[in-house]
Protein backbone atom coordinates (compact mmCIF):
# COMPACT_ATOMS: atom_id res chain seq x y z
CA UNK A 1 0.00 0.00 0.00
CA UNK A 2 1.41 3.37 -1.04
CA UNK A 3 2.20 5.78 1.78
CA UNK A 4 1.25 8.98 -0.05
CA UNK A 5 -2.16 7.99 -1.38
CA UNK A 6 -5.04 6.53 0.51
CA UNK A 7 -6.66 3.51 -0.96
CA UNK A 8 -10.36 3.99 -1.88
CA UNK A 9 -11.33 1.56 0.88
CA UNK A 10 -9.43 3.56 3.42
CA UNK A 11 -10.94 6.79 2.16
CA UNK A 12 -14.43 5.33 2.50
CA UNK A 13 -13.59 4.11 5.98
CA UNK A 14 -12.32 7.59 6.91
CA UNK A 15 -15.48 9.18 5.52
CA UNK A 16 -17.68 6.79 7.48
CA UNK A 17 -15.73 7.57 10.65
CA UNK A 18 -16.19 11.26 10.01
CA UNK A 19 -19.94 10.80 9.52
CA UNK A 20 -20.16 8.74 12.69
CA UNK A 21 -18.27 11.44 14.55
CA UNK A 22 -20.52 14.24 13.29
CA UNK A 23 -23.68 12.33 14.20
CA UNK A 24 -22.30 11.29 17.58
CA UNK A 25 -21.21 14.83 18.39
CA UNK A 26 -24.60 16.18 17.35
CA UNK A 27 -26.43 13.70 19.54
CA UNK A 28 -24.08 14.39 22.45
CA UNK A 29 -24.52 18.16 22.15
CA UNK A 30 -28.28 17.67 22.19
CA UNK A 31 -28.13 15.43 25.26
CA UNK A 32 -25.81 17.90 26.97
CA UNK A 33 -28.22 20.77 26.29
CA UNK A 34 -31.06 18.66 27.67
CA UNK A 35 -29.06 18.31 30.90
CA UNK A 36 -28.60 14.53 30.64
CA UNK A 37 -24.92 14.77 31.54
CA UNK A 38 -25.49 16.99 34.57
CA UNK A 39 -28.00 15.21 36.82
CA UNK A 40 -27.06 17.44 39.76
CA UNK A 41 -28.29 20.65 38.13
CA UNK A 42 -31.69 21.93 39.21
CA UNK A 43 -34.57 21.20 36.89
CA UNK A 44 -38.30 21.78 37.27
CA UNK A 45 -38.50 18.05 38.08
CA UNK A 46 -36.08 18.52 41.00
CA UNK A 47 -38.50 20.98 42.60
CA UNK A 48 -41.57 18.91 41.83
CA UNK A 49 -39.92 15.84 43.37
CA UNK A 50 -38.75 17.78 46.43
CA UNK A 51 -42.28 19.11 46.95
CA UNK A 52 -43.82 15.64 47.16
CA UNK A 53 -45.54 15.48 50.56
CA UNK A 54 -45.37 12.47 52.90
CA UNK A 55 -48.97 11.72 51.87
CA UNK A 56 -47.75 11.01 48.31
CA UNK A 57 -47.94 12.73 44.95
CA UNK A 58 -51.15 14.82 44.85
CA UNK A 59 -52.33 13.43 41.52
CA UNK A 60 -54.34 15.93 39.50
CA UNK A 61 -53.52 18.76 41.91
CA UNK A 62 -50.98 21.57 41.89
CA UNK A 63 -47.64 20.34 43.18
CA UNK A 64 -47.52 23.16 45.71
CA UNK A 65 -50.32 25.35 47.06
CA UNK A 66 -52.35 22.24 46.33
CA UNK A 67 -55.39 23.15 48.44
CA UNK A 68 -57.49 26.05 47.25
CA UNK A 69 -60.83 27.49 46.24
CA UNK A 70 -61.78 29.63 43.23
CA UNK A 71 -63.25 33.10 43.14
CA UNK A 72 -64.50 35.47 40.48
CA UNK A 73 -64.67 39.21 40.73
CA UNK A 74 -63.40 42.45 39.32
CA UNK A 75 -60.35 44.66 39.54
CA UNK A 76 -61.22 48.33 39.51
CA UNK A 77 -58.29 50.58 38.64
CA UNK A 78 -58.35 54.12 39.98
CA UNK A 79 -55.95 55.41 37.31
CA UNK A 80 -53.09 56.23 39.71
CA UNK A 81 -51.05 53.30 38.39
CA UNK A 82 -50.68 54.94 34.99
CA UNK A 83 -47.94 57.09 36.52
CA UNK A 84 -45.88 53.90 36.87
CA UNK A 85 -46.93 51.61 34.01
CA UNK A 86 -48.66 52.03 30.69
CA UNK A 87 -50.33 48.60 31.05
CA UNK A 88 -54.01 48.98 30.24
CA UNK A 89 -54.98 47.41 33.57
CA UNK A 90 -54.01 50.63 35.37
CA UNK A 91 -56.21 52.88 33.25
CA UNK A 92 -59.24 53.90 35.31
CA UNK A 93 -61.92 51.26 34.77
CA UNK A 94 -63.14 47.79 35.62
CA UNK A 95 -61.38 44.62 34.54
CA UNK A 96 -62.77 41.10 35.00
CA UNK A 97 -60.71 38.96 37.34
CA UNK A 98 -60.70 35.50 38.79
CA UNK A 99 -58.38 33.69 41.08
CA UNK A 100 -57.78 31.19 43.78
CA UNK A 101 -57.30 31.40 47.53
CA UNK A 102 -54.87 28.72 48.52
CA UNK A 103 -52.66 27.19 51.16
CA UNK A 104 -48.90 26.82 50.87
CA UNK A 105 -48.87 23.06 51.15
CA UNK A 106 -48.32 20.23 48.70
CA UNK A 107 -51.02 18.19 50.46
CA UNK A 108 -54.47 18.99 49.07
CA UNK A 109 -56.14 17.62 52.20
CA UNK A 110 -54.00 19.36 54.82
CA UNK A 111 -56.08 20.80 57.68
CA UNK A 112 -56.26 24.59 57.23
CA UNK A 113 -54.90 25.45 60.67
CA UNK A 114 -51.69 23.49 60.01
CA UNK A 115 -50.58 25.59 57.05
CA UNK A 116 -48.64 28.74 57.82
CA UNK A 117 -48.49 30.30 54.37
CA UNK A 118 -51.65 31.38 52.56
CA UNK A 119 -51.78 32.65 49.02
CA UNK A 120 -53.85 34.14 46.28
CA UNK A 121 -53.57 33.46 42.55
CA UNK A 122 -55.07 36.20 40.41
CA UNK A 123 -55.74 36.74 36.73
CA UNK A 124 -56.94 40.11 35.48
CA UNK A 125 -58.06 40.38 31.84
CA UNK A 126 -57.84 43.52 29.75
CA UNK A 127 -59.98 44.52 26.76
CA UNK A 128 -56.86 44.61 24.55
CA UNK A 129 -56.56 40.85 25.02
CA UNK A 130 -53.65 40.99 27.44
CA UNK A 131 -53.70 39.65 30.95
CA UNK A 132 -51.88 39.95 34.21
CA UNK A 133 -51.32 36.83 36.26
CA UNK A 134 -49.85 36.99 39.72
CA UNK A 135 -49.54 34.63 42.66
CA UNK A 136 -48.96 36.23 46.03
CA UNK A 137 -48.54 35.00 49.61
CA UNK A 138 -49.15 36.38 53.08
CA UNK A 139 -45.67 36.50 54.68
CA UNK A 140 -44.06 39.96 54.55
CA UNK A 141 -40.82 38.57 53.11
CA UNK A 142 -39.89 35.34 51.34
CA UNK A 143 -38.12 32.55 53.20
CA UNK A 144 -34.91 32.51 51.17
CA UNK A 145 -32.88 34.56 48.70
CA UNK A 146 -32.51 32.20 45.75
CA UNK A 147 -34.35 29.33 44.05
CA UNK A 148 -31.39 27.08 44.92
CA UNK A 149 -31.85 27.95 48.61
CA UNK A 150 -35.59 27.27 48.31
CA UNK A 151 -34.78 23.82 46.95
CA UNK A 152 -32.47 23.20 49.91
CA UNK A 153 -35.23 24.38 52.23
CA UNK A 154 -37.63 21.84 50.69
CA UNK A 155 -35.08 19.08 51.20
CA UNK A 156 -34.35 20.15 54.78
CA UNK A 157 -38.00 20.40 55.78
CA UNK A 158 -38.70 16.93 54.35
CA UNK A 159 -35.56 15.43 55.89
CA UNK A 160 -35.71 12.79 58.59
CA UNK A 161 -32.52 14.22 60.10
CA UNK A 162 -33.67 16.11 63.24
CA UNK A 163 -30.91 18.70 62.72
CA UNK A 164 -31.68 19.31 59.04
CA UNK A 165 -33.58 22.55 59.60
CA UNK A 166 -31.03 23.81 62.09
CA UNK A 167 -28.25 23.16 59.60
CA UNK A 168 -30.25 24.83 56.86
CA UNK A 169 -30.96 27.95 58.96
CA UNK A 170 -27.28 28.21 59.89
CA UNK A 171 -26.31 28.21 56.23
CA UNK A 172 -29.07 30.67 55.26
CA UNK A 173 -29.13 33.60 57.70
CA UNK A 174 -31.85 35.29 55.62
CA UNK A 175 -34.22 32.53 56.76
CA UNK A 176 -34.34 34.01 60.31
CA UNK A 177 -36.72 36.84 59.38
CA UNK A 178 -39.18 34.42 57.79
CA UNK A 179 -38.80 32.05 60.75
CA UNK A 180 -39.65 34.90 63.13
CA UNK A 181 -42.80 35.70 61.14
CA UNK A 182 -43.79 32.03 60.95
CA UNK A 183 -43.47 31.69 64.74
CA UNK A 184 -44.64 35.04 66.00
CA UNK A 185 -46.64 36.61 63.18
CA UNK A 186 -50.42 36.83 63.49
CA UNK A 187 -52.83 34.24 62.11
CA UNK A 188 -56.29 35.25 60.98
CA UNK A 189 -59.49 33.25 60.65
CA UNK A 190 -60.21 34.35 57.08
CA UNK A 191 -58.64 34.78 53.67
CA UNK A 192 -60.58 38.06 53.60
CA UNK A 193 -58.44 39.41 56.46
CA UNK A 194 -55.08 38.45 54.98
CA UNK A 195 -52.64 40.72 53.23
CA UNK A 196 -51.02 39.13 50.17
CA UNK A 197 -47.64 40.23 48.81
CA UNK A 198 -45.94 39.69 45.46
CA UNK A 199 -42.56 39.56 47.29
CA UNK A 200 -40.88 39.24 43.92
CA UNK A 201 -40.00 42.48 42.22
CA UNK A 202 -41.02 43.43 38.69
CA UNK A 203 -40.33 46.38 36.43
CA UNK A 204 -43.09 48.80 35.42
CA UNK A 205 -42.55 50.96 32.33
CA UNK A 206 -44.54 54.20 32.17
CA UNK A 207 -45.74 55.96 29.02
CA UNK A 208 -42.61 58.13 28.91
CA UNK A 209 -40.46 54.98 28.86
CA UNK A 210 -39.16 55.39 32.43
CA UNK A 211 -38.79 52.19 34.40
CA UNK A 212 -39.76 51.62 38.01
CA UNK A 213 -38.82 48.53 40.00
CA UNK A 214 -41.81 47.58 42.12
CA UNK A 215 -43.43 45.01 44.35
CA UNK A 216 -47.16 44.89 44.94
CA UNK A 217 -49.54 43.83 47.69
CA UNK A 218 -53.25 43.30 48.27
CA UNK A 219 -54.34 44.90 51.53
CA UNK A 220 -57.62 43.56 52.98
CA UNK A 221 -60.50 45.95 53.55
CA UNK A 222 -61.71 43.66 56.34
CA UNK A 223 -60.17 44.34 59.73
CA UNK A 224 -57.78 41.47 60.56
CA UNK A 225 -58.57 39.69 63.82
CA UNK A 226 -55.71 37.68 65.26
CA UNK A 227 -56.64 34.11 66.22
CA UNK A 228 -54.28 31.55 67.70
CA UNK A 229 -53.53 28.45 65.60
CA UNK A 230 -54.93 26.30 68.43
CA UNK A 231 -58.25 28.09 68.21
CA UNK A 232 -58.19 27.84 64.40
CA UNK A 233 -57.64 24.07 64.66
CA UNK A 234 -60.95 23.78 66.51
CA UNK A 235 -62.81 25.28 63.56
CA UNK A 236 -62.38 22.16 61.43
CA UNK A 237 -60.03 21.12 58.64
CA UNK A 238 -61.63 23.28 55.93
CA UNK A 239 -62.73 26.29 57.92
CA UNK A 240 -61.06 28.79 55.56
CA UNK A 241 -63.01 27.60 52.52
CA UNK A 242 -66.29 27.47 54.46
CA UNK A 243 -65.67 30.89 55.98
CA UNK A 244 -64.81 32.66 52.71
CA UNK A 245 -67.77 31.04 50.94
CA UNK A 246 -70.21 32.26 53.59
CA UNK A 247 -68.55 35.64 53.89
CA UNK A 248 -68.68 36.38 50.17
CA UNK A 249 -72.26 35.13 50.00
CA UNK A 250 -73.02 37.83 52.57
CA UNK A 251 -71.28 40.53 50.52
CA UNK A 252 -68.32 41.10 48.24
CA UNK A 253 -64.87 41.25 49.84
CA UNK A 254 -62.27 43.83 48.87
CA UNK A 255 -58.53 44.31 48.82
CA UNK A 256 -56.65 47.46 47.88
CA UNK A 257 -53.78 46.90 45.48
CA UNK A 258 -50.74 48.86 46.58
CA UNK A 259 -47.58 49.16 44.49
CA UNK A 260 -44.32 49.89 46.32
CA UNK A 261 -41.59 51.59 44.29
CA UNK A 262 -37.95 50.74 44.97
CA UNK A 263 -35.21 53.31 45.29
CA UNK A 264 -32.01 52.67 43.38
CA UNK A 265 -29.96 50.18 45.36
CA UNK A 266 -32.90 48.48 47.07
CA UNK A 267 -32.57 44.65 47.01
CA UNK A 268 -34.75 43.97 43.96
CA UNK A 269 -33.22 40.53 43.33
CA UNK A 270 -33.79 39.19 46.85
CA UNK A 271 -37.40 38.65 47.99
CA UNK A 272 -36.20 37.75 51.50
CA UNK A 273 -35.19 41.39 52.01
CA UNK A 274 -37.90 43.94 52.78
CA UNK A 275 -37.58 47.40 51.31
CA UNK A 276 -37.47 50.34 53.75
CA UNK A 277 -40.86 51.34 55.18
CA UNK A 278 -40.69 54.87 53.80
CA UNK A 279 -40.62 53.80 50.15
CA UNK A 280 -43.18 55.44 47.89
CA UNK A 281 -46.41 53.48 47.63
CA UNK A 282 -49.22 53.99 45.14
CA UNK A 283 -52.75 52.64 45.56
CA UNK A 284 -53.65 51.53 42.05
CA UNK A 285 -57.06 49.96 42.51
CA UNK A 286 -59.34 47.55 44.31
CA UNK A 287 -59.89 43.83 43.89
CA UNK A 288 -63.48 42.86 44.64
CA UNK A 289 -64.24 39.18 45.13
CA UNK A 290 -67.88 38.65 44.22
CA UNK A 291 -68.33 34.91 44.11
CA UNK A 292 -66.66 31.79 45.49
CA UNK A 293 -66.64 28.56 43.46
CA UNK A 294 -65.36 25.16 44.59
CA UNK A 295 -62.13 24.25 42.84
CA UNK A 296 -63.19 21.05 40.98
CA UNK A 297 -65.57 22.98 38.72
CA UNK A 298 -64.22 26.48 39.15
CA UNK A 299 -62.37 28.66 36.64
CA UNK A 300 -59.12 28.69 38.64
CA UNK A 301 -58.51 24.98 38.43
CA UNK A 302 -57.08 24.52 34.95
CA UNK A 303 -55.09 27.70 34.73
CA UNK A 304 -51.48 28.27 35.65
CA UNK A 305 -51.01 31.43 37.72
CA UNK A 306 -47.62 31.86 36.10
CA UNK A 307 -46.20 35.11 37.49
CA UNK A 308 -44.41 35.84 34.22
CA UNK A 309 -47.64 36.16 32.22
CA UNK A 310 -47.61 39.95 32.20
CA UNK A 311 -49.13 42.67 30.05
CA UNK A 312 -46.94 45.09 28.11
CA UNK A 313 -45.83 47.73 30.63
CA UNK A 314 -44.85 45.13 33.22
CA UNK A 315 -41.83 42.85 32.90
CA UNK A 316 -39.68 40.67 35.11
CA UNK A 317 -36.75 42.21 37.01
CA UNK A 318 -33.40 40.82 38.17
CA UNK A 319 -35.29 38.77 40.77
CA UNK A 320 -34.49 35.13 39.84
CA UNK A 321 -37.68 33.70 41.33
CA UNK A 322 -40.32 34.49 38.69
CA UNK A 323 -38.34 32.55 36.05
CA UNK A 324 -37.93 29.58 38.39
CA UNK A 325 -41.58 29.72 39.39
CA UNK A 326 -42.66 29.90 35.75
CA UNK A 327 -40.58 26.85 34.91
CA UNK A 328 -41.75 24.78 37.87
CA UNK A 329 -45.40 25.90 37.63
CA UNK A 330 -45.40 24.82 33.98
CA UNK A 331 -44.11 21.38 34.96
CA UNK A 332 -46.75 21.14 37.67
CA UNK A 333 -49.40 22.21 35.16
CA UNK A 334 -48.26 19.65 32.57
CA UNK A 335 -48.37 16.89 35.18
CA UNK A 336 -51.69 17.72 36.77
CA UNK A 337 -53.56 18.32 33.51
CA UNK A 338 -52.39 14.88 32.38
CA UNK A 339 -53.76 13.45 35.64
CA UNK A 340 -57.21 15.02 35.37
CA UNK A 341 -58.88 11.61 35.74
CA UNK A 342 -57.43 11.45 39.27
CA UNK A 343 -59.21 14.68 40.21
CA UNK A 344 -62.53 14.51 38.39
CA UNK A 345 -64.97 17.35 38.06
CA UNK A 346 -68.21 17.02 39.93
CA UNK A 347 -70.49 18.24 37.15
CA UNK A 348 -70.44 17.33 33.49
CA UNK A 349 -70.97 20.87 32.21
CA UNK A 350 -68.22 22.47 34.26
CA UNK A 351 -66.15 25.13 32.59
CA UNK A 352 -62.92 23.65 31.27
Amino acid sequence: MAQARQSPARSVFGSLMLIAFVIGAGAAAFAYTAGWFSPQHLTPESFVDALTPPTGVPLGHRRNHAKGICFTGVFEANGAGTALSYAQVFTRGQYPAFGRFNLGTADPSAPDATVRVRGIGLRISMPDGQEWRTAMINPPIFAVSTPQAFYELLLASASKDPDAMKTFAAGHPEFAAFGAWAKGGPWTGSYAEDRFNSLNSFVFTDSSGSEHTVRWSLLPAAQPVSVSPDDLAKRGPNFLEQEITERVRGGPQRWTMVVTVANPGDPSADPSKAWPEERRTVEVGTLTVQQIEPEPDGPCRDINFDPTVLPSGIRTSDDPFPAARSSVYAKSYDLRTAEAHDYPRTTADAKP
Binding site: V12, S15, L16, L18, I19, V22, I23, G26, A27, A29, F30, T33, A34, G35, H41, L42, T43, P44, S46, F47, G129, Q130, E131, P147, D302, I303, N304, D306, T308, V309, S312, T316, P320, P322, A323, A324, S326, S327, V328, Y333, D334, T337, A338, A340, P352
Partner: protein, 187 residues
Protein backbone atom coordinates in the same frame (compact mmCIF):
# COMPACT_ATOMS: atom_id res chain seq x y z
CA UNK B 1 -19.21 9.18 -10.37
CA UNK B 2 -22.08 10.80 -12.20
CA UNK B 3 -21.10 14.35 -11.26
CA UNK B 4 -23.51 16.37 -13.32
CA UNK B 5 -26.94 17.00 -11.90
CA UNK B 6 -29.42 19.77 -11.58
CA UNK B 7 -29.44 21.69 -8.29
CA UNK B 8 -32.26 23.06 -6.19
CA UNK B 9 -33.04 26.69 -7.07
CA UNK B 10 -31.13 29.38 -5.12
CA UNK B 11 -34.34 30.30 -3.28
CA UNK B 12 -34.80 26.67 -2.22
CA UNK B 13 -31.18 26.45 -1.08
CA UNK B 14 -31.51 29.71 0.85
CA UNK B 15 -34.69 28.47 2.56
CA UNK B 16 -33.09 25.12 3.32
CA UNK B 17 -30.02 26.50 5.07
CA UNK B 18 -31.86 29.33 6.80
CA UNK B 19 -34.39 26.86 8.15
CA UNK B 20 -31.67 24.39 9.09
CA UNK B 21 -30.19 27.04 11.39
CA UNK B 22 -33.62 28.02 12.75
CA UNK B 23 -34.75 24.44 13.39
CA UNK B 24 -31.54 23.30 15.05
CA UNK B 25 -31.59 26.43 17.23
CA UNK B 26 -35.23 25.71 18.01
CA UNK B 27 -34.63 22.09 19.04
CA UNK B 28 -31.67 22.99 21.25
CA UNK B 29 -33.60 25.84 22.86
CA UNK B 30 -36.51 23.47 23.40
CA UNK B 31 -34.60 20.77 25.27
CA UNK B 32 -32.54 23.41 27.08
CA UNK B 33 -35.46 25.47 28.34
CA UNK B 34 -37.50 22.59 29.75
CA UNK B 35 -34.56 21.51 31.89
CA UNK B 36 -33.68 24.78 33.61
CA UNK B 37 -35.12 26.99 36.34
CA UNK B 38 -32.58 29.77 35.81
CA UNK B 39 -33.51 33.23 34.48
CA UNK B 40 -32.43 32.10 31.01
CA UNK B 41 -35.61 29.98 31.04
CA UNK B 42 -37.70 33.07 30.29
CA UNK B 43 -35.27 34.26 27.62
CA UNK B 44 -35.31 30.86 25.92
CA UNK B 45 -39.11 30.62 26.03
CA UNK B 46 -39.39 34.15 24.62
CA UNK B 47 -37.25 33.08 21.65
CA UNK B 48 -38.86 29.66 21.24
CA UNK B 49 -42.36 30.99 20.56
CA UNK B 50 -41.62 33.62 17.87
CA UNK B 51 -38.96 31.42 16.27
CA UNK B 52 -41.50 28.61 16.03
CA UNK B 53 -43.94 30.89 14.26
CA UNK B 54 -41.14 32.06 11.94
CA UNK B 55 -40.39 28.44 11.06
CA UNK B 56 -44.07 27.82 10.36
CA UNK B 57 -44.18 30.77 7.95
CA UNK B 58 -40.92 29.75 6.27
CA UNK B 59 -42.09 26.14 5.95
CA UNK B 60 -45.31 27.20 4.23
CA UNK B 61 -43.34 29.38 1.81
CA UNK B 62 -40.95 26.52 1.23
CA UNK B 63 -43.76 24.10 0.55
CA UNK B 64 -45.19 26.47 -2.06
CA UNK B 65 -41.74 26.88 -3.64
CA UNK B 66 -41.31 23.11 -3.68
CA UNK B 67 -44.65 22.68 -5.47
CA UNK B 68 -43.56 25.33 -7.99
CA UNK B 69 -39.99 24.19 -8.67
CA UNK B 70 -39.94 20.56 -7.56
CA UNK B 71 -36.73 18.73 -6.73
CA UNK B 72 -33.89 17.55 -8.93
CA UNK B 73 -34.07 13.82 -9.76
CA UNK B 74 -32.04 11.43 -7.66
CA UNK B 75 -29.18 9.56 -9.39
CA UNK B 76 -30.44 6.69 -11.54
CA UNK B 77 -28.05 4.22 -9.92
CA UNK B 78 -29.36 4.90 -6.41
CA UNK B 79 -31.09 1.73 -5.11
CA UNK B 80 -34.88 2.00 -5.01
CA UNK B 81 -35.27 1.53 -1.22
CA UNK B 82 -32.79 4.37 -0.63
CA UNK B 83 -34.68 6.60 -3.07
CA UNK B 84 -37.93 5.79 -1.35
CA UNK B 85 -36.38 6.48 2.06
CA UNK B 86 -35.12 9.85 0.88
CA UNK B 87 -38.49 10.81 -0.53
CA UNK B 88 -40.34 9.71 2.61
CA UNK B 89 -37.91 11.70 4.74
CA UNK B 90 -38.82 14.82 2.79
CA UNK B 91 -42.50 14.24 3.56
CA UNK B 92 -41.61 13.73 7.22
CA UNK B 93 -39.64 16.99 7.26
CA UNK B 94 -42.54 19.00 5.85
CA UNK B 95 -44.99 17.38 8.27
CA UNK B 96 -42.71 18.22 11.20
CA UNK B 97 -41.75 21.72 10.05
CA UNK B 98 -45.41 22.67 9.73
CA UNK B 99 -46.79 20.39 12.44
CA UNK B 100 -44.44 21.20 15.32
CA UNK B 101 -45.18 24.94 15.44
CA UNK B 102 -48.91 24.22 15.13
CA UNK B 103 -48.72 21.66 17.96
CA UNK B 104 -46.86 24.17 20.12
CA UNK B 105 -49.30 26.96 19.34
CA UNK B 106 -52.25 24.64 19.91
CA UNK B 107 -50.80 23.34 23.16
CA UNK B 108 -50.34 26.87 24.50
CA UNK B 109 -53.85 27.76 23.35
CA UNK B 110 -55.36 24.74 25.12
CA UNK B 111 -53.62 25.84 28.33
CA UNK B 112 -54.60 29.53 27.83
CA UNK B 113 -51.00 30.69 27.80
CA UNK B 114 -50.47 33.78 25.67
CA UNK B 115 -48.35 33.39 22.53
CA UNK B 116 -46.24 36.55 22.48
CA UNK B 117 -44.02 37.31 19.50
CA UNK B 118 -41.19 39.83 19.20
CA UNK B 119 -42.46 43.36 19.68
CA UNK B 120 -45.21 42.22 22.05
CA UNK B 121 -47.52 41.00 19.25
CA UNK B 122 -49.94 38.46 20.65
CA UNK B 123 -51.36 35.64 18.57
CA UNK B 124 -54.94 34.45 19.10
CA UNK B 125 -55.69 31.03 20.54
CA UNK B 126 -56.24 28.39 17.87
CA UNK B 127 -57.90 25.89 20.21
CA UNK B 128 -60.29 26.10 23.16
CA UNK B 129 -59.12 25.73 26.77
CA UNK B 130 -58.91 21.97 27.42
CA UNK B 131 -56.74 19.96 29.74
CA UNK B 132 -57.07 16.79 27.64
CA UNK B 133 -56.12 18.61 24.42
CA UNK B 134 -53.21 20.23 26.22
CA UNK B 135 -51.92 16.86 27.39
CA UNK B 136 -52.30 15.27 23.97
CA UNK B 137 -50.56 18.13 22.15
CA UNK B 138 -47.88 18.52 24.81
CA UNK B 139 -46.94 14.84 24.48
CA UNK B 140 -46.92 15.06 20.69
CA UNK B 141 -44.79 18.23 20.74
CA UNK B 142 -42.35 16.71 23.22
CA UNK B 143 -41.82 13.31 21.59
CA UNK B 144 -41.90 14.57 18.02
CA UNK B 145 -39.11 17.01 18.92
CA UNK B 146 -36.84 14.04 19.60
CA UNK B 147 -38.05 12.31 16.45
CA UNK B 148 -37.34 15.53 14.54
CA UNK B 149 -33.80 15.68 15.88
CA UNK B 150 -33.24 12.01 15.07
CA UNK B 151 -34.51 12.62 11.54
CA UNK B 152 -32.09 15.54 11.19
CA UNK B 153 -29.19 13.34 12.29
CA UNK B 154 -30.21 10.73 9.75
CA UNK B 155 -30.52 13.43 7.10
CA UNK B 156 -27.05 14.79 7.91
CA UNK B 157 -25.58 11.27 7.81
CA UNK B 158 -27.19 10.63 4.45
CA UNK B 159 -26.08 14.00 3.06
CA UNK B 160 -22.50 13.38 4.16
CA UNK B 161 -22.64 9.87 2.73
CA UNK B 162 -23.67 11.32 -0.63
CA UNK B 163 -21.01 14.04 -0.39
CA UNK B 164 -18.07 11.99 0.84
CA UNK B 165 -18.67 8.40 -0.15
CA UNK B 166 -20.97 8.25 -3.15
CA UNK B 167 -20.00 11.69 -4.51
CA UNK B 168 -23.06 11.48 -6.70
CA UNK B 169 -24.10 15.13 -6.69
CA UNK B 170 -27.01 14.72 -4.28
CA UNK B 171 -25.28 16.86 -1.68
CA UNK B 172 -24.25 19.40 -4.29
CA UNK B 173 -27.89 19.84 -5.27
CA UNK B 174 -28.50 21.56 -1.94
CA UNK B 175 -24.97 22.75 -1.12
CA UNK B 176 -24.96 26.36 0.12
CA UNK B 177 -22.03 27.28 -2.12
CA UNK B 178 -20.95 25.83 -5.47
CA UNK B 179 -18.96 22.63 -5.00
CA UNK B 180 -16.34 20.79 -6.99
CA UNK B 181 -18.43 19.76 -9.91
CA UNK B 182 -20.79 22.68 -9.95
CA UNK B 183 -22.38 23.36 -13.29
CA UNK B 184 -24.72 26.14 -14.31
CA UNK B 185 -28.12 25.34 -12.81
CA UNK B 186 -30.67 24.65 -15.48
CA UNK B 187 -33.36 27.18 -14.65
Amino acid sequence: MTGYRQRFTPLQRLLHWLMAICILTMLFIGVGMVSTVKPKYLTLVSIHKPLGIAILVLALIRLAVRFRYGAPPLPADLPEPIKLGGQLSHYAFYVLMIGMPLLGWGMLSAATYPVVLFGGVRLPAILPHSESLHTLLWNAHFYLAFAFFALILLHVAAALFHALVRRDGVFDAMAPVPTYDEVVPAE
